[in-house]
């Protein structure tokens, strides 16, 4: 082999193969834990309020991103909101075509300054529009695991 040597088959290239074990656990954090437990146990959304900036954080934060104030005022947030933006997903995570396009939306929750990205269902994708009022449909309490998927989807009100 020299500098002019041309590799004709990938197997001719000598390479060391390895595998780095990098299993990670990502916790929801103090505020996230409380948020997901409220969904799991009570089927309700919680947010935190910054009294200085008058911002209602959903998902809740433990401190204000604007003024860094510690946030300890928790309020219940309505499960109703509106479609802030949406898209139709045609491929799954591996790039394979989905049997039907999946509507995915950012839902701005009423009374909050934030919202959630989630699926829309019980609607013809053609009918979705920005500003459409929607509500959360929770899974059966027994099926909930303290995950964002405890919300089955959002549907038009």
């Amino acid at each position: 082999m020299s500098l002019l040597h041309r590799i004709e088959h990938p197997r001719d290239a000598l390479a060391w193969e390895g595998d780095m074990p990098t299993l990670g656990r990502y916790t929801a954090g103090i505020a996230g834990e409380k948020f997901f437990r409220a969904i799991q146990e009570h089927g309700q959304f919680l947010g935190t309020v910054c009294p200085i900036c008058e911002i209602v954080y959903v998902p809740p934060r433990l401190y204000c991103e604007q003024c860094f104030e510690h946030l300890d005022e928790w309020i219940e947030i309505s499960p109703i909101g509106w479609v802030h933006t949406f898209t139709l997903v045609h491929l799954d995570l591996d790039g394979n075509p989905l049997p039907e396009p999946l509507p995915l939306a950012f839902i701005q929750l009423d009374g909050a300054d934030g919202g959630l990205v989630h699926f829309l269902d019980e609607i013809d994708p053609e009918q979705i529009f920005v500003g459409m009022p929607v509500e959360a449909v929770f899974k059966d309490p027994a099926e909930r695991k303290g995950s964002i998927l405890d919300i089955a989807y959002f549907r038009p009100v």
Partner: protein
């Protein structure tokens, strides 16, 4: 703004196993392949064939092992492959009573740097010594490679099982 000190929350494995805390697991597939390059590629192929191979620097007239495509002293490209002996002399060595994964051992492992015959002074490779009384190892001692059987060689430095005194 008032100062607020957050309570520390210490999590134990038990908290994850018993579901006391919500979490996601993430296992990125961190497989990699490190390209050996031209010089080390040829070197590893040589090892598989039971042959130590170096590279010659035309400017310094040195023979380098492990081989490289340029000389680290004068930065000239090296110009030819040199087949070397599998014998040499110990430049330095150590006696290790702890393995790489921190296990205590009674019979020491003896890693050594071996100056390979046919390469320039100081040019050597690091390997293990065996078939030798640890107390008798000394700098300058003549050693020879003990190769694994050809069928077991994979093109790795471990294709040499160890070095033993001549």
């Amino acid at each position: 703004m008032k100062e607020y000190v957050y309570d520390s929350v210490y999590l134990r494995s038990k908290d994850f196993e018993e579901g006391n805390v919500l979490f996601e697991t993430w296992d990125p597939n961190a497989r990699y392949a490190w390209d050996a390059g031209v010089a080390i590629g040829r070197y590893l192929q040589g090892l598989k064939a039971g042959q130590l191979i170096g590279r010659h620097c035309p400017e310094c007239d040195r023979v380098l092992i492990p081989p490289r495509m340029f000389c680290e002293t004068c930065f000239r490209p090296t110009d030819r492959w040199v087949e070397l002996e599998d014998t040499g002399a110990i430049i330095t060595f150590s006696r290790c009573y702890v393995t790489w994964d921190m296990i205590r051992i009674t019979d020491p492992q003896i890693p050594a740097v071996i100056e390979i015959d046919g390469a320039s002074p100081g040019m050597g490779i690091m390997h293990m010594l065996s078939e030798v009384d640890p107390d008798e190892v000394q700098i300058g001692m003549r050693v020879q490679a003990v190769w694994k059987p050809a069928a077991e060689r994979i093109g790795a430095i471990t294709d040499i099982a160890y070095f033993k005194p001549l």
